[in-house]
Symmetry: C2
Subunit: 282 residues, 2 copies
C-alpha cells in the first residue's frame, strides 16, 4: 500500500492507471476510520481493480463554531487498518495543497435537496462537500465511488451532482454499520461520555419504532414525527435538531406517507451532534 | 467523422478511447464556425490523437434579453467544415439532454475574475460557462481543451477552474484570428449591417493605438482608457460597455501600467455587442 500526499502525484498515478484500463474505486473519508468506513473499502475491494482511500478533514464543509479543529485524527492507525483491508493507495493531502491561497472555485447543488435537514442546520456544509468531492473525483479519477447510507442526504446530493454534471463514474451507496446495541458508527461517537453514549440509543430505537408504526398503518407525517419526538424526549440530554420524513429519491416533502420514505434525525447530546436515518417503503 | 448527439454515447466513446491511452483534444464551441474556431481545431489536430468538437448553444450562459434564440446556427455547414479539418467527432447535444427537468448543479468561480468586465455586464454568464464546460469536460474527457484568446476573460476563468478543481487536463489558449482589416472573428459579426461592420473597426484600431501609446511610455491607466474612449467616439454608432486595463494573469486592478496587462473592450453597435482584447507587456 502506498501513501500519497501530493495532489499532483495522486493525479498522475490515477491517469496512468486509467490509461491502462484498470478500474479505480475511491472511498472518500475524513479518516479516524471505523467499521463503517471499512465496509466501504471492502466493497470497493470486491468491485474494483484498484482501491484508493482518501483521508482529508475538509475545512470547507465545517461551519464557524463547528468541530473542524477537534475532529479526531489518527493517520497512523488509519493506514494500518487500510493495509489490512488491502487498499492500494491512501491519499492524504494537506489543506494548503487542496486549497491554495486565492482559492475560489466551487461546485454546488441547489434546491430543497441541499437546503433541508443538515443543509438547514449547517449552511454551506454541502457546498463544501460537493466541492471537495468534485476535486477528489478529478484527482483520483474513480470508476466507482463509495459512500455510506449513514450520510443519506450527502449520498443523494452527490448522486444528483454526478448525474447532472456528467462525472464519468458511478456512486455506490453502502448500508449503515451499527454497534450491537444499534448506535450507527460515526467518528464523532468518541466525543460521547458514557451517559451520552447510553442516551444516544434513542436515535436508532425511535427510527425502528417509527418504522413499526408505519408498518402498522400510520400514514400521517406529523403523527410519526411526534411519535419519534416523544421517544427521543425520554433521554433527558437529547436536544433535537431535526426529525424529518421526506421522499427518499429527492427529499421532496410528503403530504402523506407513501412510496419510499427517508426518516432522518439529527440530535445533539451535549456538544455532539449525531445523525441517523432509515428507509421505509410502503 | 462521427456526429454524436447523445450525452451517454459521447461519454462512452470517450471512456473507451481514454482506456486505450489515446490523447483526446476538445474544442468547445457554440457552432456557426469561423476561421477562429478552425484555428483551434487545427491546433488540436496537431497535438492530439483524437479531436472532438462540441457544438452547443448553451442557454445557461445567456441572460434574459440576450440573443440565445437568435444566435446563428448552421450544423450542416459546421459539420462540412469540421470534416475538412479532420475532426474525429462532432458532439452536438440537445438542450434537454444537457439540462434535464429539475437540473440544479452548478460550477462557479468567485471573485474579481468573474465579476469584472463581461461578468459585470452579463450577470450569471460565467457561471453558465463554467458549468457547461465542466459538463463537457466530464462527457468528453479531454487531455487538452482549446479556447480562443478572443474570450480572454473566459479562458482565464476556465484556467483557474481547471487548476483549483483539479480537472485532469490542460487548457490551451489560441491567438485571436482577425479579418484582414483587423476585426476579430466572431459568430456575432453576421449581425452587423455594412455601416456597423465598418464602424466596428474602432475596436482593433483603438487597441493597437493604445499599445503604441503604452510603448511610447504612457503608464497612467485612466489616460489610456480616455485615449481609447476618444478613438471609439469617432464611430457615431458605438456605445461603450467597458474599457478595462487589468493584470493579465488574474484581472486584478492596476494602479499603474506594468508587467503583463490585458486591455479589453466591449462595445455595442446597434444591438450587437462585440468584444476584443490585446495583451501588452511593459
Amino acid at each position: 500500500m502506498q501513501t500519497i500526499q501530493s495532489v499532483a502525484e495522486m493525479q498522475q498515478w490515477s491517469s496512468i492507471q486509467k490509461r491502462s484500463g484498470r478500474r479505480i474505486g475511491l472511498v472518500p473519508t475524513m479518516g479516524y476510520l471505523h467499521d463503517g468506513h471499512l465496509s466501504l473499502v471492502r466493497q470497493a475491494r470486491q468491485e474494483c481493480d484498484l482501491v484508493v482511500v482518501s483521508i482529508f478533514v475538509n475545512p470547507m464543509q465545517f461551519g464557524v463554531g463547528e468541530d473542524f479543529e477537534e475532529y479526531p485524527r489518527d493517520l497512523t492507525r488509519d493506514c494500518a487498518l487500510l493495509e489490512q483491508e488491502q487498499a492500494d493507495v491512501v491519499f492524504a493531502p494537506a489543506v494548503k495543497d487542496m486549497y491554495p491561497p486565492g482559492y475560489s472555485s466551487f461546485v454546488e447543488v441547489e434546491g430543497e435537496i441541499t437546503t433541508k435537514m443538515c443543509g438547514a442546520s449547517r449552511p454551506g456544509h454541502f457546498r463544501g462537500v460537493t466541492t471537495v468531492v468534485s476535486k477528489l473525483f478529478h484527482i483520483c479519477q474513480p470508476d466507482l465511488a463509495f459512500f455510506g447510507q449513514k450520510d443519506a442526504q450527502q449520498a443523494m446530493i452527490l448522486e444528483k451532482m454526478v448525474r447532472e454534471l456528467n462525472f464519468p463514474l458511478k456512486i455506490v451507496r453502502v448500508p449503515i454499520v451499527r454497534e450491537e446495541d444499534g448506535l450507527a458508527l460515526s467518528s464523532r461517537n468518541v466525543y460521547l461520555n458514557p451517559q451520552e453514549r447510553q442516551e444516544a440509543l434513542v436515535l436508532s430505537q425511535s427510527l425502528q419504532a417509527a418504522r413499526q408504526l408505519i408498518m402498522d398503518g400510520e400514514r400521517d407525517v406529523e403523527k410519526v414525527k411526534d411519535f419519534i419526538r416523544n421517544i427521543i424526549a425520554t433521554s433527558p440530554g437529547a436536544q433535537i435538531d431535526y426529525i424529518e420524513l421526506n421522499k427518499a429519491d429527492d427529499l421532496a416533502s410528503l403530504p402523506r406517507i407513501e412510496g419510499k420514505v427517508l426518516i432522518a434525525l439529527a440530535v445533539k447530546f451535549g456538544t455532539t451532534r449525531l445523525i441517523d436515518n432509515l428507509l421505509v417503503e410502503v
